[in-house]
Symmetry: C2
């Protein structure tokens, strides 16, 4: 199956639809992190986005572009996390009913958030989410809005980087986490709008779930046998999307991996120095910078903090355990 | 003993000294909080200030205005918290040695932070901090920089509100926590610079340590018998400063109190919806708004988030306990 690869202008047109509905999230700097890296890092605070994650952008965009009939019948997605909440909130705002095939190991915080926006949840096993989703959608006549492998989702996610590039000039690099590749593909398209002076674009993913890095290296999409059990629960994907992969190959400079330890160290720095309750997935790009997998030194680096929906007691305990070491 | 009451222009001149050294902290809004209050609340993020609290402003200002000889000999303060860290950092930046009489019940996070900036700590009992401080200062020839009862401290703390008023026009109200009254007095002076259209200024303090509210009501400074054991550990003061009190009487509209439960509820909202790891003291003004002690409805309200130095595991656990209730 071949598609036309999505072009950068899709992000511009998504921005026109999203303007006034998405929050224009602030950009923060964290001096302790800049000092350590010898760089200027600009954090785009998508954990302060509606629903607590960038996922609202793609979800609202996709739902906005759906035809009248499909909207009236309702939509379905399969997601263990922020895409579920983003779509649920978008549905609430646009009057579209939202059903979610939700893996039974979904974090309670993310489950509660999706419910709070009025979504209907259908429990399923993690490995069966797509199959269960397809069955329920067929039975009920619902349109499937997948979490990442969808042009409107990719274009919507790219608007975060577009705003960041408008707010911070002359970025040398953009780094995002990569799970299914929605945010990274959208970011790469946004960067491509910068023309010759465009920032280089990098993805960072957990070593435990290195499907994107391996796919990027080999040129063939790799599928992991099991769902990776990384602390970065937003990145527990087994493969990147097909449409996403085409964009990554065309526009991304590299994809690197980081250890669980590096992720937790980066989370701790974002909580302690940045004072932001980001979820572990958000810290994966910073982990790549701090561990030297990406060289930030002397550069102006844009990083998308992807989300902030986590068990505050759990992550707070992890961070506290590490924070004595940080300060000394 | 009578003093000339400090005037608003002191804040303007402090700003000139602090510009370029203090961080111009961002202003955040939290839509879920605005919706609940039917108001526009602008949070001045002093937890993102250097040393993690507004206290750096007053400390650096006071140290900058000290004579050469005093600077060479070094300074001392007594503090269980952010003033200690603020002074330690200011001393590090200005090459002034800093000694701190620190109560032995100081939070480990705050102790570690002061140490990390190179301060020398002298342990003491909570009730004896001033006496021990005075003795050590006399023995070693150190100049005492008290945590709040000092004109340069008050003027420095007022610069946070000054920046907020520059960044957000037409505020109807300003609300800050009140412990010894440094931040509140400085804020009231900054507000007074607004002339006839000045915002009204309110202090909020824990019911458990209601010395400021009682003093304000009766017109006489009240001293509590014991140090109040509020969760807002930055506000465990027994009385407001004498100089502070003179400013409060001249420029503050009211001081209200809030329960421990209201404080924890407000902390939870700032962590969950605002995604900011503020310390409990920072949440006291929001607690006053949410509990109806101050009427925010239809107003533009500036709130100073005073600091973010806390045990993330402890506060994270408190917040997690309450967050299910928040979301439903």
């Amino acid at each position: 199956m071949t598609h036309t690869v999505l072009g950068p202008e899709a992000v511009t047109s998504a921005m026109r639809i999203l303007e006034g509905t998405v929050r224009r999230t602030p950009v923060l700097t964290v001096p302790e992190i800049d000092e350590r890296l010898g760089a200027n890092v600009y954090f785009k605070c998508e954990h302060l986005q509606r629903c607590g994650a960038f996922k609202f952008r793609g979800a609202f965009h996709a739902l906005s572009r759906l035809g009248e009939d499909a909207r009236r019948s309702g939509v379905l997605t399969y997601s263990s996390g922020n895409h579920a909440s983003g779509l649920a909130l978008a549905g609430q705002l646009l009057g579209v009913s939202v059903t979610i095939a939700m893996p039974n190991n979904t974090s309670p915080v993310k489950r509660a958030l999706a419910l709070s926006y009025g979504a209907e949840l259908v429990d399923c096993l993690p490995e069966e989410r797509e199959a269960v989703g397809a069955r329920v959608a067929a039975e009920r006549g619902l349109t499937i809005i997948p979490p990442y492998d969808h042009d409107d989702i990719i274009a919507g996610q790219g608007t975060a980087a577009l705003e960041l590039m408008e707010d911070v000039s002359d970025l040398d690099m953009l780094v995002t986490p990569v799970g299914g590749g929605g945010l990274l593909a959208g970011t790469a398209l946004a960067a491509a709008l910068g023309g010759e002076k465009r920032p280089r674009v990098f993805g960072a993913e957990p070593e435990l779930g290195d499907d994107a890095a391996r796919s990027f290296r080999t040129g063939e999409r790799v599928t992991l046998e099991t769902v990776p059990q990384t602390v970065a629960d937003g990145l527990r994907t087994r493969y990147v999307g097909e449409r996403n992969f085409a964009v990554l190959r065309a526009h991304v400079d590299d994809i690197v991996t980081v250890t669980e330890d590096a992720i937790l160290d980066a989370v701790a720095r974002l909580w302690v120095y940045g004072k932001q309750t980001v979820e572990p997935s958000s810290a994966v790009p910073l982990a790549a910078l701090l561990s030297g997998k990406l060289d930030a030194s002397g550069r102006r680096v844009g990083v998308v903090l992807s989300g902030g929906n986590c068990d505050l007691a759990q992550v707070g305990a992890w961070v506290a355990e590490r924070s004595a070491g940080l300060r000394s």
